[in-house]
């Protein structure tokens, strides 16, 4: 396992470089928007990756609520945090694309607003994890994650069901895409998914280390107070960001 990480990291770096080359050099230039359309190769894969991470967060949260499994709780924290990072990329690259194409940075339409709400929900989740000291925090956070995940399909399907300024979906919706562009899009999504997996892996190790430190601190404070007959009572699922 220790050797798998550097190997995967090198492969991901190569894949990301190749995906960047494809996006900038190989993908055809869009007729009306020009080169700014190439933002699409970072914006859309980042959004899909964020959705995937939030879905994983939902599954891990449900597992935690049912079984109180600390590993599921750690996976939930990790995927929420990395998902917020990818969602931030979406919220930053979207307006940068919109400015030259729409003439405005932002508009309060359904897709954009629901994406911002999604980001705010998961930022709230992370704030709850970071600042709440209650032993019930993982349960509350898991419940919040379940409700937060309800916004993901709303974001995804908002451009199917509502009139919106956002472009139509390129796959499965009313929009269409050049096969060469679709190929570059999929390469970028694969690259960003591998990158997200690597970050989650590192962040999971960090989370385990954090819990180890917390348990060691709790044990030390118990020993320091002379209460050696009591076992360390820090719940194994307690975490702080």
């Amino acid at each position: 396992m220790k050797r798998a990480f550097p190997i995967l990291a090198v492969l991901t770096a190569i894949l990301l470089s190749y995906a960047l080359y494809e996006a900038l050099m190989v993908a055809p230039t869009e007729r009306t928007m020009g080169d700014v359309q190439r933002i699409f190769y970072y914006h859309v894969p980042s959004a899909w990756t964020a959705f995937l991470l939030f879905f994983t967060n939902l599954v891990a949260s449900v597992v935690y609520l049912i079984r109180r499994n600390p590993v599921a709780d750690a996976v939930a924290v990790v995927t929420a945090e990395v998902g917020v990072v990818f969602c931030t990329v979406v919220l930053v690259t979207g307006p940068i694309w919109a400015r030259p194409v729409w003439g405005i940075w932002w508009t309060w339409d359904v897709r954009l607003t629901s994406t911002l709400v999604l980001w705010l929900i998961y930022v709230s989740y992370l704030i709850l994890r970071r600042f709440s000291d209650s032993a019930q925090t993982p349960v509350l956070a898991a419940a919040l994650a379940v409700f937060g995940a309800l916004d993901v399909p709303l974001v995804y399907f908002s451009i199917w069901f509502f009139r919106t300024q956002h472009p139509q979906p390129v796959i499965g919706g009313g929009g269409s895409i050049d096969p060469r562009m679709l190929r570059v899009l999929m390469i970028n999504w694969l690259a960003f998914s591998c990158f997200a997996f690597l970050i989650c892996w590192s962040r999971y190790r960090l989370e385990r280390l954090r819990r180890e430190v917390e348990e060691a601190q709790a044990l030390e404070s118990l020993l320091g107070s002379g209460d050696v007959s009591t076992k360390a009572t820090v719940p194994p699922n307690r975490s702080r960001q």
Binding site: L20, M33, G34, D35, V36, R38, I39, Y42, H43, S46, V85, T88, V89, V92, T93, I96, W97, R99, P100, F195, I199, S202, R203, L206, L209, R210, E212, V213, A216, Q217, E220
Partner: protein, 44 residues
Amino acid sequence: MNSLKYLYAAYIATWLIHAVYLGSMVRSYTRLRQQLKELGNGEK
């Protein structure tokens, strides 16, 4: 449409966001290793 500056801005912003996050993870890791080391020394 002179859009290259927006294209570069978007790509740079993407990697900047990831770099800041990875940097914060490295800082947390260093701090936690140090704390664990100190706790280990305290027990001895």
